[in-house]
Amino acid sequence: MTGAMYDQISSKGATLEARNIDLSFGGVAALVRCSLRLEPGRVTAVIGPNGAGKTTLMDVIGGRLRPDSGEVRLDGADISRMPPHRRARLGLLRTFQIARELEGLTLFENLLLAGQGRAIEHPLAALAGGRRHRRAEAAVAARAHGLLERVGLVGQADLPAGALSGGQKKLLEVARALMVSPRILVLDEPTAGVSPPLARVLADLTRDLAREGLTVAFVEHDMDFVQNVADHVVVLAEGQVLASGSFAEVTGTRDVIDAYLGRAA
């Protein structure tokens, strides 16, 4: 029964490729010839110790950081120089490690904002009014309500987003990104601070989205979540890809165990 409603969450997934990314902050090399390939219908987990460069890689993909060298391609097209808002319009959506809610908007308004199209958010549309715009806005509201039901936050819809708990804010971010009809969804530590039942909701949602063909990637420290949700795991350490493959393959690797124990080469 739930299936029908969620057909509309995502459009068909897209392929994203980051190739040979180099990026350093001053003298600190955060990413070193780092490559990552995300594919439709596949959930990729990026894991690695603290400071490995996982968030930096997500920032490069989302366009918040420009790499020193290397390129980012979406369905083959080079988007390396594209600003974040244009990447989002192509369906590349990301969330933040530390949730960034729009605190002055309610939870519901956070979702409305993400879902409202450019035609209805034009200032002239505000002055001209019009039934067509009102109907479009109501459709966005219905979709927002559906997503809040899915993540179990209907009761908090009208709360200012700043008043939500840390875990609720993380869910808000995921739901908000889904309002934009993503083709590629990149989540930075989606379960951090999220209670176990809600983390399970998130796991189911992620799996459903991938089954529908969405391209999903996430950074995560919770290994149970990684094992349950990811099809493909990439291990990052000191800005380099150390290993990649299935969860079992990757966690059996000597290098990976060393990296987590702090004995990386």
């Binding site: 974040p84 808002h85 989002a88 904002l113 409202q116 209805i120 990104a177």
Partner: protein, 308 residues
């Protein structure tokens, strides 16, 4: 007494328009405008010069609004590469440039002597001072229209867009919003409203000179927005009224306090206004009103919450 009241109400209406404009720029979109008085002056001079050149009031007003909005758009566009805090400096600089231009380009602006004899529109109402009441009615109509525009923008999807840019522009961009365009639009619309206030000011006095456009005008607008509640248009109407009543009402201080010299009294007035604002901020830091938030159940497509 009636004449005095009419004058005060006219000034309150103009101040309220300025406060609504600032609320759009700063209250809703987070763009601090310390050069507000510069845009106000630009609008006043543009409307005055056009009126003096024989343009009708509608054309003069339209011209003033377009010119000022274009300058506002340019300022917003030029400062988009700078960190947010720098907009304060850029707008402050803009205000100063306007002031110096008005003083020094006497061939156009009359310099320090200003522009006298500005023809102004009014409604010819019967009775003594009917034309003043008529002008007040025009100002109130302008205020009502300005309020409607700002409130509609605030409640529309564009309002959410402005508030999102204010709260976190990185998030707005991450969701596909063109932050620079939103800022330019909000700032330009606000500047058009500042020009409306400027035109009414020029018409009201019939004479303008640079000494009427001091930074205190900017300060009053900020006071009105802070007292009224950032983001809340109804609150700001009240805030502007309260601030102007404090300012104008404290003129009567000289009748009560007759033991201080006039120049000291002027300083005392400012101290009192400042103290009033501080007390207000201590007891009601969020201001009188709260910005509009669209509730989920207000949409026909969203089922009402089960409880209540």
């Amino acid at each position: 007494m009636i004449a005095f009241l009419v004058t005060i109400l006219t000034l309150v209406a103009i101040a309220a328009i300025l406060a609504l404009a600032l609320n759009l720029q700063w209250g809703l979109c987070g763009m601090v405008n310390f050069g507000l008085v510069g845009f106000f002056a630009l609008g006043a001079y543009a409307a005055a010069l056009l009126s003096l050149a024989g343009a009708g009031p509608a054309l003069a007003l339209l011209g003033a609004m377009v010119i000022t909005a274009a300058c506002g758009a340019a300022v917003a566009a030029l400062s988009h590469r700078l960190a947010e805090e720098y907009l304060a400096i850029v707008t402050l600089g803009f205000g100063e440039v306007v002031r110096l231009t008005l003083l020094n380009e006497s061939w156009l602006t009359g310099g320090a002597l200003g522009l006298p004899g500005i023809p102004s529109p009014t409604l010819r109402l019967p009775g003594p001072g009917g034309e003043h009441v008529g002008f007040l009615v025009l100002c109130l109509i302008a205020l009502a229209l300005a309020y409607l525009v700002v409130e509609r923008l605030a409640r529309a999807p564009f309002g959410r867009l402005m508030r999102a840019v204010r709260d976190d522009d990185v998030v707005a961009a991450t969701l596909g919003k063109d932050v620079v365009r939103v800022r330019i639009a909000a700032f330009a619309i606000g500047c058009a409203l500042l020009a409306l206030g400027g035109a009414l000011h020029a018409w009201h006095f019939g004479y303008i000179d640079p000494s009427q456009f001091t930074p205190i005008v900017t300060a009053y607008a900020f006071m009105a927005v802070i007292a009224g509640g950032r983001g809340s248009n109804p609150g700001i109407l009240v805030g502007a009224g309260v601030v102007m009543l404090l300012i104008e009402g404290s003129r009567f201080l000289k009748d009560v306090v007759d033991f201080v010299a006039a120049d000291q009294l002027a300083a005392l007035r400012l101290i009192l206004i400042g103290a009033g604002l501080i007390l207000f901020l201590i007891y009601r830091p969020q201001g009188l009103g709260r910005e509009y938030r669209r509730s989920a159940a207000s949409f026909p497509t969203v089922p009402a919450p089960a409880s209540s």
